[in-house]
Amino acid sequence: MWNFSNIADSIHKWLNLTFSPTLATIIEMVIVGVCVIGLFAVLGLVLVIMERKVSAWMQIRLGPNRVGPKGMFQSLADTVKLLVKEGMTPTGADKFLFNLAPYIALIVAMLLMAPLAFAKDFQMWDLNIGVLYIAAISSVSVISILMAGWSSNNKYSLMGAMRSGAQIVSYELSAGFSVLSVVVLAGSLNLNTIIQSQADGWWIFKGHIPVFISFIIFIIAVTAETNRAPFDLAEAESELTAGFHTEYSGMKFALFFLAEYVNVFIVCAIGATLFLGGWMPFHIGHWEGFNHIMDYIPSSIWFFGKTFFLIFLIMWFRWTFPRLRIDQLLNLEWKYLLPISLFNILLVTAMAILGWYF
């Protein structure tokens, strides 16, 4: 029941039997599109309510508890509210870029979904350079922020955009290096191969301290890349009111908001895939009995469980730490994270060559 690949296969077979191959492919594409849109919307709703609940409990509050049971439909109500808000375009703005920016943010977030393996054999595009694809596409996200900030013709937005430009490109380096350490160990850029290589243990355990360090660097870097506190300088609300999306309202703002949350999901999914084994259940070496029990838990649950654990971690950071200053932020990257990750990758390589992993 939990095996998605069987469902996908049967749908595929049935479509090919009933329709011509071309039509079947088109219908499949539509189904995939609708599914992805549905996943997108659900993720947005779930992550928003999760963030609000997590923050509330950390702040000794109850959090939203009026709409629906325990306030679970609060984000739905928020969406409706944003839907009926007027989406304004400032008079002085560069209208074309201003309206284009949310689309780009969303397209980038959407494209990053392609190589993710949500469950065993359940993947849109089994790409043999999956890691490179992710690294390439995710660097486009900065463009939407720069576009939004620059076109708004607002000084806060401009500064927010500039800050996030400097920030995202800087942190992409250490994110890239920490991803590389897993690539070195697995010897492949294919996400599926990387997951398969963790069948006897996740890299975070197999890789000893060096991979653990790169995992921490990865978490820090992606927190910065998704513009979340303590690295939310692009929207630092006590300095720049709302940063790059100051002038956005209504649905356009909602799209940015959604893209931000989906980006958080995606980077956490990537982290889970690379370091925590993706959909791979928790296996220890050759303990066959234990591994067998773990296999009973469906692979999709493993994947989403790990991803949401990482999302929780990132939320936990957000509601605990103060924001960094722009120069400290860049210092952290260039003086600490980058040298450490450069050194770390050498360690990992040495480890990989020596075979010091089980």
Binding site: M29, V32, G33, V34, V36, I37, A41, L83, V84, K85, E86, G87, M88, P90, T91, G92, L106, I107, M110, L111, A114, M124, W125, L132, A135, S152, N153, N154, Y156, L158, M162, G165, A166, V169, S170, E172, L173, G176, F177, L180, V183, V184, L185, G187, S188, L189, T241, E247, G250, M251, K252, L255, D327, L330, L338, P339, I345, L346, T349, I353
Partner: protein, 116 residues
């Protein structure tokens, strides 16, 4: 599904955002007045233009990033084969990193990594 999934996803994203914005357009009642279109600056009319030359500090990091990012791209193929190549790969990458690190130190010495 292969590379066609990219097209599907782009179309899905476009459809999703267009429909959302379209529904919002239909549902909302737009009113305009000149004050509404002003840029938000805490309720005070903005002084001077926004689109002008900005401090070079932001761009400097982008430039340094460019150098390092190109190196990072070189590292991807290396990383895939590093395990098979063996010790030679490590020696090579140490030399590579050494040159890179020298450049990094130079930039650091020059104060390019200091926020201005």
């Amino acid at each position: 599904m292969g590379s066609s999934s990219m097209i599907v996803l782009i179309i899905a994203a476009l459809a999703f955002s267009s429909i959302a914005i379209l529904i919002a357009k239909i549902v909302t009642k737009a009113t305009t007045n000149p004050q509404k279109g002003e840029p938000y600056e805490c309720g005070i009319p903005t002084k001077g233009t926004t689109w002008k030359q900005l401090n070079v500090g932001y761009y400097l990091f982008a430039l340094i990033f460019l150098i390092f990012d190109v190196e990072l791209v070189f590292l991807y193929p290396w990383a895939v084969v590093a395990k098979h190549v063996g010790w030679m790969a490590l020696v090579e990458i140490i030399i590579f990193f050494f040159i890179l690190f020298m450049g990094f130190l130079y930039a650091h010495k020059k104060g390019a990594l200091k926020w201005k």
